[in-house]
Amino acid sequence: MIVIIDTGCANLSSVKFAVERLGYKVVISKEREDILGADKLFLPGVGTATEAMENLRQRGLIELVKQVDKPLLGICLGMQMLAEFSIEGGAKQAEEPVPCLGLVPGTVSLMEPAPGQRLPHMGWNQIQPQSDHPLFKDIEPGSYFYFVHSYALPVGEHTLAECDYGNAFTAAVGRDNFFGVQFHPERSGKAGAQLIKNFLEM
């Protein structure tokens, strides 16, 4: 069973449609038995870290997600929530770092674009994946993926793919069974579909 964790964030349905376009069945759920019984899980996110973590807390999902031992893919804010902390708080930065799930090390912080570059980092940018990782099977280095974000996880030991915007940042991360992508594979055309397919076939 493939489960999209119902985080209460918007944009769950575009992930659902992307999985369905590949011919898989998928359910959106926040129920304990679905989440712990799933073979593959997606943790989508749109919004702010403050809002998203509060949604997880209200739904009793924080401890539940940490218990997952099957492959889980966080998307965009869903990836950022895997980190230890985020400083995102909406129109302004959060006053204190927001504690996140702590499943991968690092703090999500505001990007520092080069002069002439804008925030949010919005649009199609190229990624450089680590060679031979199954998540990037049949995806060429330099492939374009769609990004929409202002905050990012710095490059670290669990980075699986990098992207550059002012500085290099983590475009994909993986630690044990927890994976995350900063871009939106469900909105990244053929390359995005390939990545979702790779994840589902891992």
Binding site: A10, N11, L12, S13, S14, F17, A18, E20, R21, V46, G47, T48, E51, L77, E88, G90, A91, G116, Q117, R118, L119, P120, H121, M122, G123, W124, N125, Q126, Y144, Y146, V148, H149, S150, D164, Y165, H184, E186, R187, S188, G189, K190, G192, A193
Partner: protein, 257 residues
Amino acid sequence: MLAKRIIPCLDVKDGVVVKGVKFRNHEVMGDIVPLAKRYAEEGADELVFYDITASSDARVVDKSWVSRVAEVIDIPFCVAGGIKTIDDANRTLQHGADKVSINSPALADPSLITKLADKFGVQCIVVGIDSYYCEETKQYQVKQFTGDEKRTVTTTWNTFDWVKEVQERGAGEIVLNVMNQDGVRQGYDLEQLSRVREICKVPLIASGGAGEMQHFADAFNQSDVDGALAASVFHKSIINIGELKQFLKQQEVAIRL
């Protein structure tokens, strides 16, 4: 490298795609889903759907077609029209839109921009600005309720002041539509775009006036916009998106092929 975006705009009225000249005389261009799919396949980087009647009719954009688009499209898309509340925006995003764009309601209540940015993140809040250059006063004016000519009003906002204001309030992207140029295919207003670019720290999308491929190259190379939006040249197959992107690549514009 971050690619410049080519963004076909589909004006939606009563569930079909329409296009007017200078916001008037709307003619039906076709069904939403097949057109959206065609653009995605031709290489569009993003799509924008404007329900041009919504704000003027005091109703929320009909959401059923948003889901139908989200089901078949694998590139991002933005929905505009009649989004006045957090609930309106939430419904639109739940149906699968990636971003929402607000225009007239932001002018009526500028605090809406901040409320939406706090709830959904600045990255999915686009502010559309209909800017009109008044020959008499030599001023760039912001217009409201442009979907219905009878109700269109000139606001007290000067375009440049409004561009600054919406950024302070949390806009994540600005679509600047130059009304004088809309639908006449004489090229983007590069002077105005360049002036807005200087004060615009968020992504800026040019809208209004694209007629030939060189116009896109000019907007990117001269006014440094992040994306260029156009409608009639794509609907009427005057410009093919794939060929446009090849052309832009030759002009040394960073583009996704």
